[in-house]
Amino acid sequence: MRLWLKRLYRLYFQSDPFKAGLCLLAALTGVSILLGLAWLLGKALWDLGISAWGVDFLRLVLGALWVLLVLFGNALLLVWVERKVAGHMQWRIGPKEVGPFGLLQSIADAVKLMGKELVSPRYVDKPLYLLAPFLIFMPCVVVLLVIPFDPHLQIRDINVGIVLILAFSSLTSIAVFMAGWGSVNKYSLLGGMRSISQQIAYEIPMVLSIVPVVMLSGSLSLKGIVEAQKVPYLLLQPVAFFIYLISAVAEVNRTPFDLPEAESELVAGYHIEYSGMRFAMFFLAEYTNLFIVSALLTTFFLAGYKGPWLPGWAWFFIKTYLVVFVIMWFRWTFPRVRFDQLLNFSWKFLIPLAMLNLVVTGGVLKL
């Protein structure tokens, strides 16, 4: 163990990109071999003809593993990508010294946060304060359940997938508000208030921009929507696409809509009193939500996993991370909007526009 640590030291400090690359490659190979074995096992069991319950159980176990992989893998990757993207947009390099190309940076962050004290201030409302990180994390896990990563890689194709996603993702705003209110801090209170108004304001245009998609595809299941897309709906519904994109950025609280945590106004907003892993949960949820809204955008408008030559999941991830990159690009380019501008932009512009779009779509389809 000590020896292994010594090796890790050397890897960190006398960073040898080649060796580290080899290590990474080995790790990736290991993971893919494991996944392949699991798939083989599943296939064998399927061939043996196990009962539907057995299949479901297997699905559940593998699904849980997959969700964990996506959750943590994505967060670790996105933290690194964001810092790198930000760095390169700002004429600097970004994380570089920790591991090859700074790849181990997010792992170092995660481990560090693990070993950080959990401060719970004296006057907080304990139940709300403690429950908020749980609640913010929960929707992320559940929503991943219905996302079709590949024709064969969807944990459960629930036939009301969209409704499920909408229901659970609005839980985020409740969690944020709980955090803001429970912290008994004025800044976090302002953050929580902002968050809840913002999320409800942008949920409506979001829903209204999905309705045309449902109209076109005639399905509420995400897989059904992807299957129904002969051409990406981006071409048929460009307005809905942009409304969804804007609302998505607002839903995940990112610049230019990062008002609940607006650093220069509210210091850190709703998570101001959270430290260590509790704060990390908000962080994790932010990046997972970023992934989820991008994945949904891909599913609804960019034909999900469909694409030539490459396998489905590859297309899915390429498209999703492209959207993620665009959202990051927004973040490092735009200033923050003001709060009343943000709300009024939704109520006075996006919602009427979405309605108009809906009417036009309905009219074109029927008349």
Partner: protein, 521 residues
Amino acid sequence: MVAEGLLRDLDAIGCVVEEVPYERKGYWFDVKAQKEKLPELAGAFDQHGYFVEEVVCVDWREELELLYHFNHWDDPRRFSVRTRVKATDPEVPSIWNIYPGAGWHEREIHEFFGVKFKGHPNLSYLFLHPDIDFYPLRKDFVPVTEEDKRVLLGRFPEGDEESFWLNMGPQHPSTHGVLRLLLKMKGEFIEDMEPVLGYMHRMQEKMAEERSYSQYYPNTARMDYVAPLAFSLCYVLALERCCGIEVPERAQFIRLIAMELNRIASHLLWLGTYLLDLGAATPYFFAFDDREQILDILEGLTGSRLTYCYYRIGGVYEDLNEGFLEAVDRFIQRMKRRLKDYDELVTGNAIFLGRTKGIGVIPKEVARRYGVTGPNLRASGVAFDIRVCEPYDGYRFLKPKVALREEGDSFARYLVRLDEIRASLSLLEEAISKVPEGPYRVEKLPKRPPVGDVFFATEGARGEVGVYIVSDGSDKPYRLKWRSPSFSNFVSFTEIGKGMLIADAVATLGSLDLVVPEMDR
């Protein structure tokens, strides 16, 4: 001219007005008045459109002398109004209801000298820590009386049912240092505010009295550390004016070049941090990268990156180094290209416009009453620039173009600063082509300045930097008072900031370009 009309009025009030040599004193008229006549006098100045530059108190042991410096935008001939009060029971009528800006200076004087201003609504602690139980700038040890302590501890903020008090600062990302604002919030709106300064009060004025003129000099750079050369220049020029030293032309040009470079660096830093306040991170990195180019040039010239100690009484420390002028020229060409980038990235951005246009408007009248100067004033449509109104040093040979906007909002302040960068660039271009040959400093300097007082004002990156020095003929200043532009600019925010959204307050506060240690001194 305005001054003549005023002089007639002053005669009518019954004050003794004496015309003094501007070249030696830094002001034109010396007005002696009884303290009872102060409000009437201030009213006369107000009628003629004067603004208060600063209020100074000098302790003459038996008596305290209060000095009000008035100046006019269109007729920049400075009036110095003096009144004397007994040191044992110093009480003067306050002029805060005529000049609210002066009211803030009065608060400062009350804390440091114990002068009571009759009729002032709030004389509580602004700069000092409550533990300091004497008046620090008095020559003798004078403890704070019980009664005065009560006044100083003053008001304790109380919220009502609808509103709450929120501390913004001292540790807050957008107060740029350790400024503290107590905001009375009603939801997202600011109902009232109570600033608390003095977290960076570093006793600059007390220190000046303890150290000799040259020992104190390096600390001038540590006040406004973003554009330190303005303060250094002001100090140096004030002493030169006092001693009547004529500086070689080459030194004047070198000073001008360094000063303008520093001004650009300061505006760039402001640009970066302002956009950061508005939530855009990237311009910060761009602006800092350009600023580094300037720092490289200035480092070659002065030897340090930030707190320069380059100007000397009677010239500069070192002659221009090799390749300096070429480097400046390269920088000018580069910066011209970069300004286009900023225009593309920031100026046309719809969100940026939405955040700044029409936000934090400083009307001319408010600017006058609070003594706002610098780019903030020029954004309100007043072409008042010390470099042009009272040309000093190299600015006697080269006139900068005054950037001017009428709107007075945050966006106008942004545009004025960008225009000032442009103006400075063209000024630099002209200057580097005209640097004359010759000595870069005076060889023989007088040992100590003569008895008397002197005022000098320069145009810093934030506004009018002024220094008032009273010399008693020794090697230490008897009294030294800084006029800090940030302080006057900031106090105007206490008026325009009321009723704002907190986000607008951040946008306005950022656009005022405050440097806290300069306010606190």
